[in-house]
Symmetry: C2
Subunit: 212 residues, 2 copies
Amino acid sequence: MRMAELSAGSGVPVATVKYYLREGLLPPGERTSPNQARYSADHVQRLRLIKALTEVGGLPLASVGAVLAAIDGDATPHETMGVVQQELAGAPPEVSDEAAEWASVLLHDLALRHGWKWHPKENRAVGNLIAALATAKELGHEKLAERLDEYFALALRVAELDVEVVMGLTSFDKIIEAGLVATVLGDRIFTGLRHLAQEQVSRDVLGRPPGS
Amino acid sequence: MRMAELSAGSGVPVATVKYYLREGLLPPGERTSPNQARYSADHVQRLRLIKALTEVGGLPLASVGAVLAAIDGDATPHETMGVVQQELAGAPPEVSDEAAEWASVLLHDLALRHGWKWHPKENRAVGNLIAALATAKELGHEKLAERLDEYFALALRVAELDVEVVMGLTSFDKIIEAGLVATVLGDRIFTGLRHLAQEQVSRDVLGRPPGS
DNA sequence: CCAGAATGGATAGTCAAGCTCTCCGTTATG
DNA sequence: CATAACGGAGAGCTTGACTATCCATTCTGG
């Protein structure tokens, strides 16, 4: 297919497709002559994926590029998902050293209780987690962390479900993309469900507004 | 305290504090003369909150402004948390009508099974949820939605925990801010825990990289 | 075959968000 | 009373993500 069709099929404007090609987010089409190219259904899917990652996942294009490079590369699924998580996490904001230390200890305890390990240097998910906990403490809401074990137990159940969903797929080479989609969209979906549930649960506790 | 101290105490540069004052994110200080003002510890806390919402929560300043206006207003806690959720959700991206319809039906079924109701028009959390599910379908990963009930059950447990944590606070007028912090930071914390757990669970399933 | 539309490629322009810088006249302070 | 800080307003800057304009090919329908 040609540019116009690629654009129509993906819902991405021609100018933007060209921009993604320039940025290397979209692989070049197959050349049919020195200055003409042909695109495939894979290109359409790739564009849809880019749209999902930016619009739904809220990822910056640079992160999308890193993620796409990872899934195109020859790393193991585990390594690839590591890249996905790094990019999804983004750069952790700065927090005060004492709050960060407090959060680190909390997490370290948690890890000990569950016999888990990670490499703090190379794991931005941990960095973000520490930053979020530390920020809560700095705001005077360190009580949030008291139930960390319970939150963690539930997160573990969610993660087991995530892995089950991804592994229950037919095509093996689709597993990496499925993992990516499950992670990025899964975060949004679960957060949405949580908010919905919060609304319903808090309706009983906080009471409905007088006017309704 | 004066500007310099406010800036130092919150970690926000003077120029940025002035900018927030201009934008109405930070209430003006108490006047001591026609062109001098004095700030309080509340201003420091407010700045810290703004920082948390933008840096950790990833909210645009406009949303932060809406949220702060809501918690400063005289709405009920339930209404205020509604505003928080609307702003947190952001504008849902566009999806195809058929995918949106499919997702709507899924959610509607879910709601029926649990006897829940909501007002679709005024609930962006629902809009985002639908968009995320619809996007998964458009990408050919509609299997993600097969376990929606299980995800939902876990989200419900998380939400119950959220409400418990917020209600277990001493000061009543801090409950709204605590709800805000619990929602914004809570999302990040839970997502971080989920990623951590995914890493550990998938390590067993996908196998460790050959080199380690 | 050929006029007009589409294409690939490069460069420049646009727009919003979120600051940051510079002045300036006033006010506080050692 | 010299000098540092302040408040207020405006302009400027940076980044990210496009969008628009050209132009020299290339395709395509009549």
